[in-house]
């Protein structure tokens, strides 16, 4: 597949690394907007799309081997250390990396894909409401934790959401409109 190398115009609107939110317009759903974004930008090689409903894993390898196929060893060591330091309740961090990827739940699949794109140093990572069923508290813990990582790697996590509550506490420069993406295809 030939990939476009030039960045889309909306990339200029996100100067600082961190997490961003796109509120879905009322006539659309987060899933639909996410699909639209995928169709418009999947060719760009600096973007990663996280879809936890998607089985994007190799079932006969461990999670660690799945995160980066052919990964350099020290990347996984660093990730292991990171998970160990920030014991995040969602993942049973001590065996998460070593268990086989054959039966992961949606949350675990999300992390596999997220860590994969972070280690691959994709600067733009687009996803949709994956933590909807887990409530806003879990979500805040996660985003606070993630913010540092995103700053360190210079990545932008762009989250398509239909949940007003999620956006409420966020600074205004982190909230994007759907028009930003759909206007410049």
């Amino acid at each position: 597949m030939r990939k476009a190398s030039t960045a889309p115009q909306w990339a200029d609107a996100l100067p600082t690394a961190g997490s961003y939110f796109v509120l879905t317009p009322t006539d659309s759903s987060p899933q639909r907007l996410y699909q639209q974004l995928w169709h418009s930008f999947y060719r760009w090689d600096d973007v990663g799309f996280i879809d936890p409903s998607d089985q994007s894993v190799i079932p006969f390898l461990s999670v660690a081997d799945n995160i980066l196929i052919d990964s350099p060893k020290n990347d996984i060591v660093r990730l292991r250390q990171f998970l160990f330091d920030n014991e995040y309740t969602e993942l049973n961090t001590h065996d998460f990396l070593d268990k086989p990827a054959s039966n992961l739940n949606e949350t675990e699949r999300f992390y596999v894909q997220l860590f994969r794109f972070l280690l691959l140093k994709r600067h733009y990572i687009i996803t949709t409401n994956f933590l909807d069923h887990q409530g806003v508290t879990t979500f805040r813990i996660f985003f606070n934790l993630l913010e540092n990582v995103l700053q360190a790697t210079g990545s932008h996590l762009i989250m398509v959401t239909g949940d007003q509550e999620m956006i409420d506490g966020q600074p205004s420069d982190r909230i994007l409109t759907a028009d930003l993406f759909t206007d410049h295809d």
Binding site: M1, S56, V57, I58, F60, L61, S102
Partner: protein, 250 residues
């Protein structure tokens, strides 16, 4: 992780696919091996017939001209037939691998997604799949090697009989004219050869070197098998992954 580690893990995980592939490959390959042995037996008999005929005086050879021609044509026809069957068997291996690989790719879309997400190229994915099928091919070949050895050492009699039946089915009736038969009878009545006519026709005078029979067949087929596996798997993977990506983006 190396290609080979992933391949071994994959073969264990997709066990049913591995077993089907090994069984199918082994079946086709033993057929090819048997056909090659038949070819060798047949050509040994053809050349033996001509040398045996050479023992007779020129006059007898002229008398037997029609018979000799019929024998030669039939030998050539049978050899060609074995060659054709071998070609069909090779084609069978090729199509079998393409079908198996396409079906298995259909069941392995999550793996394709993971490979694509980590930025692996289509060539890389094809190579990964080829390593898997190469290991299966080696396993199948070990089985075929053992079966071929058994066939060469214990089944040669059966192969000869098969060849003989096939040969006499194709031999034209020219030998059964009364004139020829009486001439041949008178010829062998005098018993100046160490064989009789029936034995000559049946090729019973040929001694076969079973080790040479086996090693030649193996030597002639290994690289043909390998190149067919390379072509079929790399080709169908490359096309298959492209088609999958195209359908993803529609």
């Amino acid at each position: 992780m190396l290609f080979i580690n992933r391949a071994i893990a994959s073969l264990k995980y997709h066990r049913r696919n591995s077993i089907i592939t090994v069984a199918g490959l082994a079946t086709f390959m033993i057929v090819v091996l048997a056909l090659q042995m038949l070819r060798q037996i047949e050509s040994a008999m053809a050349s033996n017939f001509m040398t045996s005929i050479g023992i007779f005086p020129k006059l007898v050879q002229v008398q037997l001209k029609l018979t000799i021609q019929a024998m030669q044509t039939t030998h050539a026809a049978v050899l060609g037939q074995y060659g054709n069957y071998a070609t069909y068997a090779y084609l069978g291996i090729f199509l079998f691998l393409i079908i198996v690989n396409s079906i298995s790719l259909h069941h392995r879309q999550s793996e394709l997604k993971a490979y694509s997400a980590t930025g692996k190229s289509v060539s890389w994915i094809s190579l990964q799949l080829f390593v898997e099928y190469f290991l299966l091919f080696l396993i199948a070949y070990v089985i075929v090697f053992a079966l071929g050895m058994l066939l060469a050492f214990f089944g040669t009699g059966w192969l000869r009989q098969l060849n003989q039946t096939n040969f006499s089915n194709q031999l034209p009736d020219v030998l059964n004219t009364t004139k020829t038969t009486s001439f041949i009878n008178s010829l062998f009545h005098e018993q100046f050869t160490y064989f009789n006519w029936k034995e000559l026709l049946a090729g019973n005078t040929v001694t076969l070197n079973r080790i040479a029979l086996f090693t030649t067949a193996v030597r002639q087929s290994f690289f043909s098998f390998l190149s067919i596996v390379i072509l079929a798997i790399i080709g169908s993977s490359w096309v298959g992954v492209h088609v999958w990506r195209f359908r993803q983006t529609r």
